[in-house]
Amino acid sequence: MHEIDLYKDPYRFDTRQIYSIVYGDQLIEDDSPSDHPYTGAWDFSQITTPFLPPVRYENTAYANQEESDTSIVDLPENQDTITQANVLKNEEDQVQELIFRIKTSRSIPYRGSLANRLLALYNDAKEEDSDCIGIAPESLRSFNKFLHLHTNIKCPIISLTPEYNIYASWRGKQNRVFSVHFLTNEDVRFVIFKPNDRHPERKIRVSGLATIDIIMETLTPYYIEDWVSE
């Protein structure tokens, strides 16, 4: 019987593959026809070790990788020597890795189109200001976690706030709106616009602060899941 090597899936753990999607400061376009990263754009033989990101992967079972937070940043012991540019580069690496993780996450049905949208937003932000972070990594991490907590949620409309945070919106009939601003520390601010069923000429408008793990539960009285879920 063949043994499956859980630690050698080239699409998951080879950090060079991450660069086949997003690499450094370059604006890139992933036109891969599949959900797997397009490898043709890069000559891996030209990418030498110093370009690899300072990311370490824990050796855990393949099946557990998708939901777990596997990246641990290896910062040098003497952090005083880290320049602002190094920090920015490190955050960009985190963003690129998170987009890659979304693209390869089988629990997100629209992973391919969503990853492409995130890449487009990243490139748009970088095109406007090459020194900016592109997408705030903590916000993207929260968004990724939210998607894994709610795997039946429809693909949202994504844009970036002026602070490069993820802002996801779902729009429905009768001008229904549900928008979530993904902040740091897994906090979210949300907005709901929905018709007032008892007073059709009026609208219900609600906004507030929650955390990603309880937001949908908190909003149960507003029947959000009825129209933002598949």
């Binding site: 748009d124 095109e127 844009s159």
Partner: protein, 143 residues
């Protein structure tokens, strides 16, 4: 003149970055403040003294292309001043009284029609969504 209230029947244009536009549709993020911003920058269209909307938009595109890196997917949102103030006043939970004031730039970034939407805060997602609902017309920002 700086600080003048823009009349209710007049219109303003807001530059919306590509990262605030999805599939050609402007999103509420286009009406959110940066952490260091006191007001939302806009331009007063009637101040330009153009004969029609098309020439106003052409003039606004000239202004933005001189000041900003205008991406291919960037958009302009046109909003009526009275409508946006009324909408936010009557539909925001705190009955917010936003003001649209003339704020001409006379220095290097010469922009005499420059104006601002005041009395916004950094955590105003709901008001950004209300402003989005008042957008009357959209145009590409690039020539």
């Amino acid at each position: 003149m700086k600080g003048d209230q823009i009349p209710d029947p007049d219109h303003i244009a807001r530059f919306c970055k590509p990262m605030q536009v999805s599939e050609g549709q402007i999103q509420a993020t286009a009406f959110m403040l940066r952490p260091d911003e006191e007001y939302l920058s806009v331009n007063w269209l009637e101040f330009l003294n153009c004969p029609n909307r098309d020439s106003e938009i052409t003039e606004i595109r000239n202004i933005y292309s001189a000041k900003l890196n205008v991406g291919a997917r960037a958009k302009l949102a046109v909003i009526n001043v009275g409508e946006v103030c009324e909408k936010v006043l009557t539909e925001s939970p705190d009955r917010r009284n936003i003001e649209v004031l003339h704020d001409p730039m006379e220095d290097d970034l010469f922009d005499p029609s420059h104006s601002g939407i005041y009395n916004l805060k950094q955590d105003d997602e709901l008001i950004a969504e209300l402003i989005l609902e008042t957008v009357l017309e959209t145009y590409t920002a690039r020539h």
